[in-house]
């Protein structure tokens, strides 16, 4: 009996079979795994409230497991009332200021471009409230969901909300300030889940 030859033949056979079977097996394993996503939400303005809830709710609708970790100003997105989230064109030259009403030519004007310098806007009382009101109206006109709606849909779809306990204390919040059904935890809770996630985003 010639061992080395048998061994070589066996190896060749195994390799050949693996080449035949493995791609399909890997494909099956990939298909059977539930995709997952971890998001860190750090911003507390109306505009930045959208990305985590849009992506979270949509991923859940696609059948993914989703966790969102809310820290620093992102904690604002977990407050019972998100109706007072604000947006400001101040220090944000990318944000157009358009009127959500009137004829098309009027709606097309970007007031932020020539109305007044950013520095002066900041000194106008109530400027932020006006900008927020205009954006909310625009959101409504365009059939875009409210933050409250997207958050409820995310919650319904089992998106997991985790509030950073450290920043809850840092900012003097209490758990009563936030909606029900949130976990309070820290970085050590987020990371092991994030490690296993297919998609991990910082916002």
């Amino acid at each position: 009996m010639n061992m080395p030859t048998d061994q070589a033949a066996l190896d060749a056979l195994i390799r050949q079979r693996l080449d035949e079977i493995l791609p399909q097996k890997l494909e099956e394993l990939k298909a059977s795994k539930t995709p997952s996503m971890s998001i860190i939400a750090t911003k507390g303005t109306l505009d930045w409230a959208y990305p985590p809830f849009i992506l979270g709710s949509t991923a859940a609708a696609l059948g993914w497991d989703v966790q969102i970790f809310f820290t620093f100003y992102g904690l604002n997105l977990l407050k019972k009332d998100v109706g007072d989230l604000k947006v400001s064109p101040l220090g944000n030259p990318g944000m157009p200021m358009k009127m959500p009403f009137g004829p098309d030519w009027f709606k097309g004007i970007d007031w932020n471009k020539f109305l007044m310098p950013n520095l002066i806007q900041s000194n106008l009382p109530g400027f932020e409230s006006v900008a927020t009101m205009l954006m909310k109206q625009t959101i409504k006109n365009n059939g875009v969901a409210t933050i409250d709606e997207l958050r409820s849909l995310s919650k319904e779809a089992d998106v997991k909300f985790i509030a950073c306990q450290m920043t809850v204390e840092l900012f003097g919040f209490s758990h009563d300030d936030f909606i029900e059904g949130i976990d309070y935890a820290g970085a050590a809770t987020f990371l092991p889940v994030a490690q296993q996630s297919d998609v991990c985003l910082f916002m």
Partner: protein, 75 residues
């Protein structure tokens, strides 16, 4: 085409048509067909991706003016 349930997602924008469709499909049984009407131009690509990922079959996509019509068969 015959359908078992209808979803009017006209005037709604991303990601609401998908979220509503997902909800509607969850209330249906396997093999049933959902008809969706939408006006969001992004929904054409979104529903194709949604169907591919969730395994619900996109039977047809049609465009009439500024309206889109989708038929999705529940997995």
């Amino acid at each position: 085409m015959n359908f078992d349930k209808e979803l009017d997602a006209k005037g709604l924008n991303c990601p609401l048509p998908i979220l509503r469709a997902k909800k509607a499909l969850a209330e249906m049984t396997s093999g049933q067909v959902l008809r969706i009407m939408a006006t969001d131009p992004g929904s054409v690509k979104d529903f194709a991706a949604f169907a591919k990922q969730t395994g619900n079959e996109l039977l047809s996509t049609a465009e009439q003016g500024k309206e889109f019509e989708f038929y999705i068969k529940r997995k």
